[in-house]
Point group: C2
């Protein structure tokens, strides 16, 4: 549960993080930055600051602000009925982000899952993204990611975003951050 005060504080901090890339964010957009704690109430450990530029029936673009070592928890975007699941490309703009996918396990990964939730992380093929690096994920691909020691700014280009259909490995996660 994120209080209104926390929401405002984290939105300002997200703006600061975005500022490291010199991205222009309008005052109206600052108030729309989503502070997603995935229902766990430990935003700086498990969470994302999300600025949605556009999300139509067909395509979506977002800017993600990540606090130092913050994790977006393991999940996938399923096909729903006839509709293919979300396809997404992550492009690192600033800082560093470590993406974990199904595939050959990286022997000495550079990240640890958030403390106490280790058993909800199962894929360990690491892809390291620095500024200008990007990676495209097909639907139904299990993945999670964590920012480096300084945090990160990541652009996400994708098909329609329907967070409510995402499937998380951690059953305690409810996608929508509840606001008091």
């Amino acid at each position: 549960m994120i209080s209104k005060d926390e929401l405002n504080r984290y939105q300002r901090e997200a703006l600061e993080i975005f500022g490291r890339t010199h991205i222009v964010v309008t005052p109206a957009e600052v108030e729309q930055i989503e502070i997603a704690d995935f229902g766990l109430g430990q935003f700086e450990q498990t969470g994302l600051g999300v600025l949605v530029y556009v999300n139509t029936q067909r395509c979506c673009a977002k800017e993600l602000a990540m606090w130092p070592r913050q994790t977006c928890p393991e999940h996938l975007h399923p096909n729903v009925g006839d509709e293919l699941g979300k396809e997404e490309t992550f492009r690192c703009r600033w800082g560093k982000v470590f993406l974990y996918l199904l595939g050959e396990t990286t022997k000495t990964p550079q990240c640890k899952p958030p403390a106490g939730r280790e058993n909800t992380y199962s894929v360990w093929h690491e892809v390291e993204l620095g500024p200008g690096d990007q990676y495209t994920l097909k639907p139904e691909t299990l993945h999670w990611f964590q920012a480096g020691d300084e945090g990160a700014v990541v652009s996400e280009f994708s098909t329609r975003s329907r967070d409510e259909s995402d499937i998380f490995t951690d059953e305690e996660i409810a996608r929508a951050a509840r606001i008091e």
Copy 2:
């Protein structure tokens, strides 16, 4: 027709234009920047520098570099068979861009079409975009746009990009810039 030397020069200039937003472009990407002159051979008047981040069957993201007063000529993205035409969102990152659409004619527009091609511009509803402003276009919407006096950087988020199906008002325009 753009020569190899011109291509290299314009790619370097595009990198400079992108640099005004502090966007990180990798060395490999610089060589992939498309210098699109729409076949007219007057790139600085009618053209675009295009860095394609991703273009799959389902979605696409690009960065556009625009030289001062450079114009992307009037066109639309048609539905093809069962498939809806391209939907696109333009977000201005730096400089200024003037978008022209079907709709109420703007009495004192801030742009003039490229000299000698005035009769290939027919829509005059002006939308002015500064840094942080954006506009979403549905398929089959006739449009053109021109950068302001300093040029512009514009992010384009869209569905699949299939330039070959674009319909231009100017019949002389061949979309693919031919490289000697």
